[in-house]
């Protein structure tokens, strides 16, 4: 397809005896938001690293549109305290020719211009994720890859971050590939949810759940929220070792 930015074909990865990923297929198109969910150890970050060419799959193929501009927010980025670095300078390192004005503009866009002259290590979890997002956008990516962008951020902060991510997509029409370890909450404007547990368990549009009682209980204000609950409809279940069984016990098995 012509608007396909990146696609993964039959990706498998085995480390030693352990099957990390098995026959995963995925394609990302322009302007699309894809959320990858799954329990801890499901291989989400590994899959992202393969898509970014940071890791080589045992088998399968990664196809990238030539000259694809990528923005990446790693799951964990700890900056050593010994490195004196202001937020502004951190942003200017995003790209060889980023000047002060561009960096400030990016901070303003993400409503954190007041942090410009702070030491990067002093930011709170939410502030840091926001600054990271601003840095990523400075590179004018066609594809944004965000590995657990809301981790360590409180509920309100998460909502804010999701709003900003959607805003970036709406303004720049970049595609977004996002990882979330939360099985139930994904960004509302997600076009496509993929549930991964070594293999792709299920995929589809997140259900519109603004009237779901559990959702109302959690957030109260359904219309303003950036969060949605994705209900799983698997055609298989997992046995105790995590292997997928071909014969389903129930037709609609849900993760808890």
């Amino acid at each position: 397809m012509s608007d396909c930015l990146l696609s993964l074909h039959d990706i498998s990865l085995t480390l030693g005896e352990k099957q990390i990923l098995s026959q995963v297929n995925l394609s990302i198109h322009e302007g699309e938001i894809i959320t990858l969910i799954g329990p801890n150890g499901a291989g989400k970050s590994t899959l992202v690293r393969i898509a970014l060419n940071l890791l080589k799959a045992s088998s399968g193929e990664v196809r990238r549109r030539p000259g694809l501009r990528l923005g990446y927010m790693p799951q964990k980025l700890t900056i050593d305290n010994s490195l004196p670095l202001t937020v502004l300078r951190f942003l200017q390192l995003a790209y060889a020719h980023t000047n002060k004005e561009e960096a400030l503009a990016a901070l303003t866009r993400f409503e954190c211009e007041h942090l410009a002259h702070q030491a990067i290590q002093k930011l709170s979890g939410g502030e840091f994720q926001r600054v990271l997002l601003a840095r990523t956008v400075l590179r004018q990516p066609q594809l944004l890859v965000l590995d657990e962008p809301v981790q360590g951020v409180d509920m309100n902060g998460q909502r804010e971050l999701y709003r900003l991510i959607r805003q970036v997509r709406d303004e720049t029409h970049c595609a977004v590939l996002m990882v979330s370890h939360d099985l139930h909450l994904v960004m509302k404007s997600t076009d496509h949810v993929i549930c991964l547990n070594t293999h792709v368990c299920c995929a589809g549009h997140p259900d519109n759940i603004s009237h779901h009682p559990a959702y109302l209980k959690l957030f109260g204000q359904p219309d303003e929220s950036e969060l949605a609950i994705y209900t799983h409809h698997h055609d298989h279940h997992h046995d105790l070792s995590g292997e997928a069984c071909s014969t389903p016990l129930h037709s609609h098995q849900e993760h808890t």
Binding site: N53, L54, L77, L83, L85, L93, A94
Partner: protein, 261 residues
């Protein structure tokens, strides 16, 4: 005092590069790595004498080989990197000492290489120091942004199109080059101290990476000059005297109240 001129000029040349390079050792937590490379330098010196080759070249070759052996050893899963560094540092130092004693070469002044020696520093050495420092500084300036980027996060840098492996290898090569040109002043046992202590002392006073690098160089110049003069006056070992001066500066930098940032 004329005796001091060549080493003093050499010392300033050394400090210009050990400042920024030491910062990268501190930021990237490579202090033990620097130690390992410098300890292996004695093996390079011994080989240089044995093969009758310029010792700067053999030191660089040995240091880089040790770095590559480390990368290879890190592929196994049983022993952590700090243990590997300890094994390599001490094995290569021991091997160097063994080779030196096998050589029975009267030209080779062992303690000058281990601890630095005022009297052995020649005008030629000073030229070598400035040549090495200028080359190393040029490389650091050219690779400054990629080096900072891989210091922040190597995966991120890779995705953003930086050739992480080559940048890292170049940094190792620069460290090897500086060890080769600096060992006559501080001695291979204490080179890492000359790199990391001024950098660590500069940290509380710096607001930017460049500010820290420049301050580290200035502190290095003070420590080396002070050390040279004290070693001359009190007839003490040069390398240890310089490092003691570094340590005093470090203490002072943390004792003196800092402007609020």
């Amino acid at each position: 005092m004329e005796l001091l001129l060549a080493p003093l000029l050499g010392g300033i040349g050394v400090a210009l590069i050990t400042g920024p390079l030491g910062c990268f050792l501190v930021w990237r937590r490579m202090a033990y790595f620097g130690d390992t490379l410098s300890h292996s330098a004695l093996l390079g010196v011994a080989l240089g004498y044995a093969l009758e080759v310029n010792i700067n070249i053999t030191v660089i070759v040995v240091c880089l080989s040790i770095a590559l052996i480390l990368v290879a050893l890190q592929q196994q899963r049983y022993i952590a990197s700090d243990t590997l560094l300890g094994i390599l540092a001490h094995s290569s130092l021991a091997l160097g000492l063994v080779v030196v004693s096998l050589l029975h070469d009267s030209r080779l002044n062992l303690s000058a290489f281990l601890f630095g020696d005022l009297l052995t520093i020649t005008t030629e050495d000073v030229f070598a120091i400035y040549l090495g420092s200028a080359a190393a500084l040029a490389i650091l300036v050219y690779l400054w942004r990629p080096l900072l980027a891989i210091t922040l996060d190597e995966s991120l840098a890779q995705v953003e199109g930086i050739r992480v492996f080559w940048v890292r290898l170049t940094l190792m090569a620069v460290i090897a080059l500086i060890i080769a040109t600096t060992m006559k002043i501080v001695g291979i046992l204490l080179i890492t101290a000359l790199m990391i202590i001024p950098a660590a002392s500069a940290r509380p006073w710096a607001r930017s990476p460049e500010g820290m690098a420049i301050r580290a160089s200035l502190l290095g110049i003070i420590a080396i000059s002070g050390g040279l003069i004290l070693a001359y006056v009190f007839d003490t070992s040069l390398g240890p005297t310089i490092v003691v001066c570094c340590a005093v500066l470090f203490l002072l930098s943390y004792l003196i109240p800092k402007p609020a940032t």
